[in-house]
Symmetry: C2
Subunit: 461 residues, 2 copies
């Protein structure tokens, strides 16, 4: 066995100075007409209804290719970034593949996932806009943890409405948020009228992310200086995450290779965009044939089985509509361990790229995902988050295909977070009691039939 290089590390000085704005390189129909209109009216306060600071909003609808990362945000990034890029030699050996497998690992920060990249940026912009408290709804808890930490760093209050059944089943996530100074409220709660209405009709409701988010939004609106912060989907969130791919570009250069395929798990799209968008730009520049693959769960297959349509972001249909790949805003995916991938739609930017075949998508069931996650843990000695294990599954399949076809392939994937607070899922997998959730064509068709009227909705496009 010869010495193998496993780590490609950069220095804190190498943290990117700019985020990459893909709007400079791809023409995406703006989906924010109504919000852009209300922006003018709100310029005096610096806050955009319902909740986006104008400075943050502007940077994510413009056409500037590179958006400078504010000094204070970059300094926070420098406390743990650049994150490592690893060559997965042990996994390659286990798979007996000629493929070269590289992975970026975003789980090294205290919040344990890539979510902190955007949480810190948002906390900075909200703080500068005079906001005093951030609220959010959280299920799996990765976004809530990151937001709590970021709010604390910028001296903002933070309230997380946590889905009641998660609150009860995932005490460690609750403790993480409380440890970082957040108030965690089990949802449905008596704090909001939405919560009180649900509790009135169903006192023992287990809650849902839709209810929790609705409560968080209502609570934010009720507070002077309160705002609801979202963890994915919006252009600005995808923008913030591009630090992942910018670093990976440099690290692959250090490794002396360029990926043939770039893979990331797909929830709403911030993780996928974070890694893939900078490689999209590099493809355009160099003409490389690199494939960009989004990996979603069988239980929530918005790209592989959804429709590109105007739809709401929330189950109650109260938000502005967005053009996106969607399973319908009333689609309720089965409960599963990759809670971060359960959203019904894909981010507008990711949807637009998928529509024009600039990216690919693939879906997997839970057992296939945890099989790969377990193999990864046993070879690479890092337990991937259930969400991240989706990317591992696709990377393993690409590597096995390379072996079958006897060709070398360079594969880059993102391990967006660690799974140390999700070990019960691995426990169920090892015990052989993890269900695979199939979603029937009928369920999807029924949900798509409840999409808002396309003509009305399409008026803004």
């Amino acid at each position: 066995m010869k010495a193998l290089r496993n780590q490609y590390l950069l220095h804190a000085d190498d943290v990117p100075t700019h985020w990459y704005n893909i709007l400079a390189d791809v023409d995406v129909p703006t989906t924010d007409v109504r919000r852009a209109r209300s922006a003018a009216a709100e310029r005096e306060t610096g806050l955009l209804a319902p909740n986006i600071p104008l400075s943050m909003y502007r940077s994510s609808v413009g056409k500037d290719r590179f958006v400078e990362i504010p000094r204070q945000v970059r300094e926070h990034y420098q406390r743990w970034r650049p994150t490592p890029l690893f060559r997965a030699h042990a996994l390659e050996q286990a798979l007996d593949t000629p493929a070269h497998l590289y992975y970026k690992f975003e789980g090294t920060n205290g919040a344990g996932s890539h979510k902190l990249n955007s949480a810190l940026a948002q906390a900075y912009f909200y703080k500068n806009a005079g906001v005093r408290e951030l609220t959010t709804g959280t299920g799996a808890g990765q976004w809530g943890t990151a937001l709590a930490m970021a709010a604390q760093a910028f001296d903002l209050d933070c309230t997380a409405f946590m889905v009641r059944c998660s609150f009860d089943q995932k005490p460690y996530r609750r403790v993480m948020m409380e440890l970082h100074g957040a108030r965690v409220v089990p949802s449905p709660s008596p704090v909001t009228s939405t919560g009180r209405a649900v509790l009135g009709s169903t006192p023992d409701s287990p809650g849902s992310l839709a209810i929790a988010s609705s409560e968080a939004l209502e609570h934010a609106r009720s507070l002077p200086g309160g705002r609801y912060a979202v963890g994915s989907g919006e252009n600005h969130v995808l923008l913030h995450q591009t630090v992942i791919g910018e670093e990976a570009l440099r690290q692959m250069e250090l490794a002396g290779e360029f990926p043939d395929v770039v893979i990331a798990a797909m929830g709403t799209g911030s993780n996928f965009a974070g890694l893939a968008f900078p490689f999209y730009r590099e493809k355009l520049r160099s003409g490389a044939a690199t494939r960009l693959v989004a990996v979603e769960p069988d239980a929530c297959p918005k790209l592989t089985r959804g429709r590109y349509a105007w739809d709401y972001n929330d189950v109650f249909g109260t938000t502005p509509m967005t053009k996106m790949y969607t399973l319908g805003h009333t689609f309720v995916p089965p409960g599963m361990h990759a809670g971060g991938l359960r959203y019904h739609g894909a981010a507008p930017l990711v949807s637009a790229l998928y529509e024009r075949r600039a990216i690919e998508a693939v879906a997997y069931g839970q057992n296939a995902v945890f099989e790969a996650g377990t193999l990864f843990a046993r070879t690479e000695n890092l337990v991937p988050a259930p969400e991240s294990a989706h990317a591992v599954r696709a990377a393993v399949d690409e590597a096995m295909r390379a072996r079958a076809e006897r060709r070398s392939t360079v594969i880059l994937f993102n391990v967006s977070g660690h799974g140390l607070l999700d070990l019960s899922a691995y426990d169920q997998y090892l015990a052989g009691v993890l269900p695979d959730h199939a979603v029937s064509d009928e369920q999807i068709a029924a949900s798509l039939a409840r999409l808002p009227d396309a003509d009305d909705a399409g008026a803004g496009s």
Copy 2:
């Protein structure tokens, strides 16, 4: 706020090539006379009774100052080492102290603590000596997790006997071990005669580390090719951990400072030795006045309130005796969250240094420790393991003293692991229900009165 440098990173090529053997620089009475004698008889098998490969044993009783790290072990280290050294600017600001606080963080590997440094080395030596299975007893689970991972890396079987109450209360620790291929047996178990005897008299016994270790030892002896691997105390374990301090020496050089005080939590001593021993050597060389401080819990104060005496390593008095600071092998510390610090004695090497006042010791209660751990999590955004939080407490106190005395001090401490699998302890602290365990003088005196006869025992010194 000016840009602050937080990370001092080395390259994988900078992983130390040698461990540091403090026996070259300090005259410690050998405590291994009986084992050294039996070594000769076992040379043919390469295995030393009861369980130490001769190659590993030799390297830790010799006088060579530097012991080369086997290539395969170093390659494994290079998969995650060098670990980062951080300047704790945020913690300094929170404390408003002129002190410079630096910490080494050993929680970046998949096992989550420094334990992996020795587990990998031991797995390598045992594998080379023809061993096929490693066993251990585990309570808190950090050592068990590291050993499972290391055994898997060197293709060895691994069985961990886990204290029954921990097995029930800490399912995530069990899952981590199983995920890395180990068999985890709740102890007392029907697998061994020790376990069967306990179960016979107490069917619902919650178990203890003494019982679990005894079961692991019996099981190892019953297997052809089985050996019991220990996670601290022995010279070779302390030797393996010195990679921490060797890296920290170089990183402090990068930072352009040399510590006035070096602080680490003290269980049996491998964590403390790992950071402090290389600085001890550097002190000897340069004449620096650096203080080396071991931090133990009030609930198990072997250095601050124990006696330097010959004693057994196990509660049943079956092991060879060792000259060490001890509370007596029958001392049972109160249950507490820093399970890794509950051992009754200090490693012989650490004990010898303490006896000659080359190092200091200080003890803290649980609430003081978790108060500091929480402050650290909230400022540095990393949740320290309960064990590591002891070092944080002492570092915070040194920094506050520096503020009171208006002098700058350079403080280096070790965060030996993360606390993500110990969040229930933080939950209790935040809820204000964490007990402080005082140990009475009477309890210690009674335990010390049961020490083995010093004259008999001292024969080997």
